[in-house]
Symmetry: C2
Subunit: 478 residues, 2 copies
């Protein structure tokens, strides 16, 4: 039986990022299209990445006292309509269930686009006294938002997976504290797991979540020049509490409405991961999220096969959770390509000649550097290299963000930055009209957020020349 042929990518990343992205997803066997437009199939490799994300995020949430729950998928129309801004924001994208079997339902049911409305209806039953607060609930589930824009695997799909946290507190102070903590957690998760440098900040009123007082978000720069929103935390104030009648008897024996937050991280982040870290050879995974951190590939010749395989197994055992690919119907070269496509952080090659010298060849996926390492030093070398890869990817991501963010002084500078496929940080009056005008004149750049890291200095709005109230990051959305 002939060895299978290698199958690298047909385009370089910078040549055509959209074709490149699609190829990486197919060739790294991450996902496939389904018969339902806009909904993808998570194949084992991408689902394993999602399981890693889930497990790490869940651990952090539980350490902060968050409990998991599960609320129904279907939301009666009357509940969805209770909070005005919320229904306005979501109803154009709602998938409606109208029939069950042959029967028409009395009331349409929405497939949850998000679960505030069905959860808060229950919160209003459960909360009576300040002693019933805080409520710190989260759920891991699927949601449907029937967007009519062009769908892109992971980045924009009509069904996606996420965790949605919905908390309620007795005071605004406590609620805002949690909202900030959650965004800090997302920053940590972004750096420590995803090795992604994003821009944490506060959304403008124009771009905030439907129903929130304000939205905190992390925005990412994608190397195709577009920006995309990552995990977020919304402070809802008492908006939903008033709409759903979530009130309680305070310590001071007064009836008060609860203060609430909402926060989420979604499978979109897998797309950001691919886009930012991937290269001309395929996916590049940060070790913290890699389903396979290290792969061992024995170079097998007939006469040394037993010896090499024995050593390969010993190495696998000593490393703990490395994968040994000893399939003989695939050539070493095919496997090298395969694991490069899949972004496996470390590859160990092991042939008869290496064995004679008690060494192996170790390749790093991020830099594609190869080094010969003594077997006795291998475990320590692998651990250090995994750490180094994680750090290097974050460093690269930070550099890409910095290189592609321009502080502009006027509208001309803003326009140029956007034309150059970069992000523009500009002083703004914060008015909706100005945001809309900028969007129109730049061919689509929108306000991403007001970065926390940038202090406001006195100055004028780059668009209308009125007194500026914020430094706003602008970019074209994905």
């Amino acid at each position: 039986m002939g060895k299978k042929q290698s199958a690298g990518l047909s385009v370089k990343k910078h040549e055509d990022m959209s074709v490149w992205y699609t190829e990486v997803i197919q060739k790294a066997d991450l996902a496939d299209y389904s018969d339902v437009s806009g909904c993808i199939i998570f194949k084992p490799y991408s689902y394993a990445i999602w399981e890693k994300i889930q497990s790490e995020v869940d651990k952090r949430l539980k350490a902060d006292g968050i409990q998991n729950v599960y609320f129904p998928l279907l939301i009666p129309e009357k509940l969805l309509q209770k909070e005005a801004a919320h229904v306005e924001g979501f109803s154009p994208e709602v998938a409606w269930v109208t029939h069950a079997g042959d029967s028409k339902l009395d009331e349409r049911l929405a497939i949850r686009p998000t679960s505030e409305t069905i959860m808060y209806e229950s919160y209003s039953k459960w909360v009576r006294s300040h002693r019933d607060l805080p409520i710190l609930y989260n759920q891991w589930n699927n949601v449907v938002r029937w967007e009519f824009k062009h769908p892109v695997p992971f980045l924009r799909t009509r069904e996606f997976l996420w965790c949605e946290g919905h908390t309620a507190f007795a005071t605004q102070e406590e609620a805002e504290k949690e909202c900030n903590e959650r965004l800090q957690m997302w920053e940590e998760v972004s750096k420590e797991l995803f090795a992604l440098q994003g821009v944490p900040g506060r959304k403008t009123d124009h771009e905030k979540f439907a129903g929130a007082l304000y939205t905190l978000s992390i925005e990412y720069f994608l190397p195709n020049g577009k920006a995309i929103q990552g995990p977020d935390a919304h402070h809802d104030g008492q908006n939903f509490a008033k709409a759903f009648d979530i009130k309680f008897l305070s310590k001071e024996e007064k009836i008060e409405y609860a203060w609430q937050n909402t926060w989420a991280i979604t499978t979109r982040m897998i797309g950001v991961l691919i886009m930012v870290h991937g290269d001309d050879y395929g996916l590049v995974l940060p070790p913290s999220l890699a389903p396979i951190q290290t792969v061992i590939i024995p170079i097998i010749f007939k006469d040394s096969k037993a010896k090499v395989l024995k050593k390969a197994k010993e190495i696998q055992k000593s490393l703990g959770d490395a994968k040994l690919d000893d399939r003989e119907e695939y050539s070493p070269g095919w496997k090298f390509n395969e694991y490069e496509l899949k972004g496996v952080p470390i590859r160990i090659e092991l042939g008869p000649r290496d064995l004679d010298n008690d060494e192996v060849v170790v390749s790093r996926r991020d830099t594609r550097n190869k080094e010969t390492v003594k077997i006795k030093d291998l475990k320590e070398y692998v651990n250090k290299t995994l750490e180094a890869i994680q750090k290097n990817l974050l460093k690269q991501s930070k550099k890409t963000l910095e290189d592609n963010t321009v502080e502009v002084k006027d509208f001309k500078g803003l326009k140029k930055a956007i034309d150059d496929k970069k992000l523009a940080l500009a002083l703004s009056c914060g008015e909706k009209a100005c945001e809309e005008s900028i969007k129109e004149k730049t061919g689509g750049a929108k306000s991403l957020n007001i970065p926390f890291s940038k202090k406001l200095v006195n100055g004028k709005c780059v668009q209308c020349n009125k007194e500026a109230v914020a430094n706003i990051l602008f970019g074209k959305g994905y």
Copy 2:
């Protein structure tokens, strides 16, 4: 502030099991009703049980090489219709999405009642050669079956959570081997996790899964005299492979259809757990699935408070994962009731007098026995007792099943067993007509399965007197 009052159950289990069941669910804070009829809210305590089930089952599946995936929630109507028996079985219960936002969809989309049809459409694209087989995929997700029977929390809900495995093999032999292994795994899970003795067997043709060649199942006896089906494994033969065109080039270079299985375990099992193990004081959880295995309750008096709390914390630390409930606004008595309601396997009480003697009082939830244990022996005692509780619950469950299963010789015996709210094991000709006749004449007893454990001896069908082909277990379904 006054101490909160205790709130035990208002009925005994044997008095009115349906009221008892509802009360346990409410008072142990397991679930709540939602605004969507037939769909419940999994509160943190029941969801934590489900997370334990997931984690243990997932570990076993992964050890057997099963990989997790995620397929879309929505299934186009034309896909659902591809396998005739399957669509006939499920279409009366399908929730249909007909609109997105304000737009009517060109084709109705079913919310998955199960995912064969959408998964196998992809399998047919992915499978070309025998080298692409086996496919061993599973997904953890939510499904909707809009049943019109009276819904019961956990046991019969219109939306439920489950894992659904869908595998494909090159030969029937391999497929049937996996089908059997899966059922064996369910038996282990049933005993080792749930401490539940069920009846493994094969469903009659009349009761098999819509689209399967045969169905293997575990059936449970509930103490209200009803039976309910637990986890299952279906051998689908080539039915779906032919309907979805899943074919491959075999080693012998022939085009062949794949052989397939489907298997599942659902949140229904939480209901079975409550029903079988619960008692007049509430839930009784097997240690393997208990979110809290051991709770420590300090008996606090002003003058000894510091000393008792210090010791309680030491004990908590030494036990590893025990919960310490040191809230002062609740009395020890209230807490005793609370953790009994919640079925926590072991309770440790610790007061100043116990401390003087270096001992604590340990209560077992299953037997409600109390024992005084020296603190130095506590860790070992707790570990042994957890094991003992797990074993005892399984033993009790086995006894209940045996005490309520009657081997009957004729129809009169069968009728009496059913009238006595028991299960009846009877020789049967295996014909659909006889099953239907038995159902009618007993007021609803249906064939549960053909138990593996019971050997067939020569004899006549209890209903029609023709030659018997199987020992069938009959009972009223939930």
